[in-house]
C-alpha cells in the first residue's frame, strides 16, 4: 500500500524525534529496532559533575554539612537544613566497613562476578558511609571495622562504578 503524502510527512516528523540511533529507511518503510532502554542524555548538575570528574581522576571528594559531618558521596543539599552545600573536602582512598552482607551468587551487572561482600564503608575523613562492594574472597575475611582501600576501575567514564570495588587492606587473610 502506498502511503499518502500527509502520512509521509508525519512519519518524517517521527523520525526526527526518535530516540534510537540505528533507525533507517528501507525503501518506503521506516525501520527502527525495539530497544528497551532509556535513550536520553541528561546533565547531572554542578555537584555530581565535580564529583564524577574527581572519581575519573582517581580522587575522592566529599562535602561538609551544616553539622560539620562530611558526606561521601557528597551531599548536594544539607540533609538537615536543605541548604545547598559548597564546602568540599578531599579524602583518602581508604575507609572502614560499618556493616556488610555476603552476595554468594552475584547478579549480572553487579561490581564483581564472583562472590563478594556488600558493605557500607565510611571513607577516612568522612562521617557518613557509602554503599559499595568489597572483594573479600570469603565471608570469614570481613567484619565490621575491617579497613578497606579503593580499587579503581581501568575504565572511568565518571560515575560511582569508577570505583571498581574495595580491597581489604593488607590483603584478604
Amino acid at each position: 500500500m502506498r502511503l499518502n503524502k500527509q502520512t509521509t510527512r508525519w512519519r518524517d516528523k517521527k523520525l526526527v524525534v526518535s530516540g534510537t540511533t540505528s533507525h533507517a529507511r528501507v525503501g518506503d518503510v521506516f525501520v527502527a529496532p525495539l530497544e528497551v532502554a532509556y535513550p536520553y542524555k541528561r546533565t547531572v548538575g554542578t555537584l555530581l559533575s565535580r564529583f564524577f570528574t574527581s572519581l575519573s581522576e582517581c580522587r575522592l571528594e566529599g562535602t561538609r554539612g551544616s553539622d560539620g559531618r562530611v558526606y561521601f558521596p557528597p551531599a548536594e543539599f544539607d540533609p538537615l537544613t536543605g541548604e545547598q552545600l559548597s564546602e568540599w573536602v578531599s579524602l583518602s582512598d581508604t575507609g572502614t566497613v560499618t556493616t556488610w552482607a555476603w552476595q554468594s551468587t552475584p547478579v549480572e551487572g553487579q561490581p564483581l562476578a564472583h562472590p563478594f561482600a556488600w558493605a557500607l564503608i565510611t571513607i577516612d575523613g568522612a562521617d557518613v558511609p557509602m554503599l559499595h562492594a568489597v572483594d573479600a574472597g570469603s565471608p570469614e575475611n570481613i567484619a565490621v571495622g575491617t579497613k578497606v582501600k579503593v580499587r579503581w576501575a581501568e575504565d572511568r567514564p565518571g560515575g560511582v562504578t569508577d570505583i571498581a570495588c574495595f580491597d581489604i587492606m593488607g590483603g584478604a587473610s
Binding site: V36, W102, S104, V107, L131, V160
Partner: protein
C-alpha cells in the same frame, strides 16, 4: 476542620500464587466483583476508585491504565492510581473522602511479583547515581541493615528465627498465605545463609496477588457493615534516601508515623506489620512501642506472602477483618516501601 469518620467496610483478597499467567484485569475483576457483592453495593455507588501497582513489574509505562478494565469506565468514573502499594492508594482515598467530595471509595492493588527478578527490579528505586548503578538487590540492602542490628545487639538471630517460625505457623490459618511451615527455631537457625546474615526464611515470599477494600464515611459505613473498622489515625513518613545517613538500628520514620497515628494512646490488640524481613518486624515493634500483649501478624504477614504493591493493603484488609469479626477492638495496619524500611505508613482502626 473536623475530620469525617471513615471506616473500612469490606475487603477481598485473591489467594497467593506464583508464576501466574493471568493479566492484571483477569485477577482483579473477580476480586472486585466479590467485594462489591460482599458489601452489597454496585459500581455506581462508588464515588472514587484508587489503584496501587508498579509499572516496573510489567516493564511497560502506563500499564496500570489497562487495570481500569477491571472496574469499568462507563458511565464515567473518578479514579486515580499511585505507583506504590495499595495502602498508599487507601491513604489517597481517605483524603478524597475527607474533602467531602465523595462518601464511598474502592481501593485495589495488584502485583505480579514473580514474573521478573523482583529483588533487582525494586532496587531501581534507589539513588540513580550513587546506588542503582551497583545493582544491589533489596535482600542485600536488608542484609546490611540486619547485620548492623545484630552487631548493635538490637536483634539476635534467634529472635529473627522466632519471627519466621511464628509467621510460618500462623500462615496455616490464612487461605491467602503461600509459605507455610512448622519448623522449630532450632531447625530454622540450622539453615544456611542465603544473603549472610539473612537466611531464606528471613526474607519475604514473592507472590502474585491482588486485593481490594471499600472505605465509607459516617452513617453510610454503619449501613454497609455490622462493625466497620473506623480509621482513628493515619500517617506516612519517609527516611532519607541516602542509605548511609539513616540509622540502621532503628526506624525513625515508623516511630513518627506511629506517634502521629496515635498508636500509643491505648492498647493495640492486633498489629499487621508489613515487614518483608524478620529483623524489620523487630525494628518496627521497637519503633512503634508495641507491647507483648499485641498479637503481631496473625495472618503470617509479608514473610509468607508478599505481593509487591499489594502486601501493604493486605495488612489493612487483615487488620480490618479482625475488627469485623469482633476478635479485636483496636488494630494497627502498616505498610512499608523502599529499601530498609525507607517509607512507613501507619494506621490505627477501631471497632465501635
Amino acid at each position: 476542620m473536623a475530620l469525617r469518620d471513615i471506616a473500612i467496610v469490606g475487603t477481598a483478597q485473591r489467594p497467593s500464587e506464583v508464576n501466574s499467567t493471568f493479566t492484571s484485569v483477569e485477577i482483579l475483576l473477580p476480586v472486585i466483583q466479590q467485594l462489591l457483592d460482599k458489601v452489597g453495593i454496585e459500581r455506581s455507588d462508588i464515588g472514587f476508585w484508587c489503584h496501587g501497582s508498579c509499572d516496573y513489574m510489567s516493564g511497560q509505562p502506563f500499564s496500570f491504565v489497562s487495570a481500569v478494565d477491571a472496574i469499568g469506565a462507563w458511565p464515567p468514573i473518578i479514579e486515580s492510581h499511585v505507583e506504590a502499594d495499595g495502602a498508599l492508594a487507601l491513604y489517597e482515598a481517605w483524603v478524597k473522602i475527607q474533602t467531602g467530595e465523595v462518601d464511598v471509595a474502592l481501593v485495589f492493588s495488584n502485583g505480579k511479583t514473580t514474573s521478573g527478578p523482583i529483588d533487582q527490579i525494586l532496587s531501581l528505586q534507589t539513588d540513580p547515581y550513587m546506588v542503582a548503578p551497583l545493582k544491589p538487590g533489596f535482600d542485600a540492602l536488608a542484609a546490611l541493615q540486619a547485620r548492623a542490628c545484630l552487631e548493635a545487639g538490637v536483634v539476635t538471630e534467634r529472635q529473627m528465627a522466632e519471627v519466621a517460625a511464628r509467621s510460618r505457623r500462623d500462615a496455616h490459618n490464612n487461605a491467602i498465605a503461600f509459605t507455610k511451615g512448622n519448623e522449630s527455631v532450632e531447625e530454622l537457625l540450622a539453615m544456611p545463609y542465603t544473603m549472610n546474615p539473612l537466611r531464606a526464611h528471613d526474607c519475604a515470599t514473592p507472590v502474585d496477588g491482588c486485593n481490594a477494600v471499600v472505605l465509607a464515611a459516617g452513617d453510610i459505613a454503619r449501613r454497609l457493615a455490622e462493625r466497620p473498622a473506623w480509621i482513628r489515625g493515619i500517617d506516612h513518613r519517609i527516611d532519607t534516601q541516602r542509605l548511609g545517613a539513616r540509622s540502621m538500628i532503628e526506624s525513625s520514620s515508623a516511630a513518627i508515623a506511629a506517634q502521629k497515628a496515635g498508636v500509643g494512646n491505648d492498647r493495640i490488640d492486633v498489629a499487621e506489620l508489613h515487614a518483608p524481613y524478620t529483623h524489620q518486624e523487630l525494628l518496627l515493634r521497637n519503633a512503634m512501642g508495641l507491647s507483648e500483649s499485641t498479637h503481631i501478624n496473625p495472618s503470617g504477614g509479608a514473610l509468607v506472602a508478599n505481593p509487591a504493591m499489594a502486601a501493604g493493603l493486605a495488612r489493612f484488609a487483615e487488620a480490618a477483618e479482625s475488627v469485623f469479626a469482633g476478635s479485636a477492638d483496636r488494630v494497627l495496619a502498616h505498610c512499608t516501601s523502599g529499601p530498609m524500611l525507607q517509607q512507613n505508613l501507619v494506621c490505627v482502626m477501631e471497632g465501635e
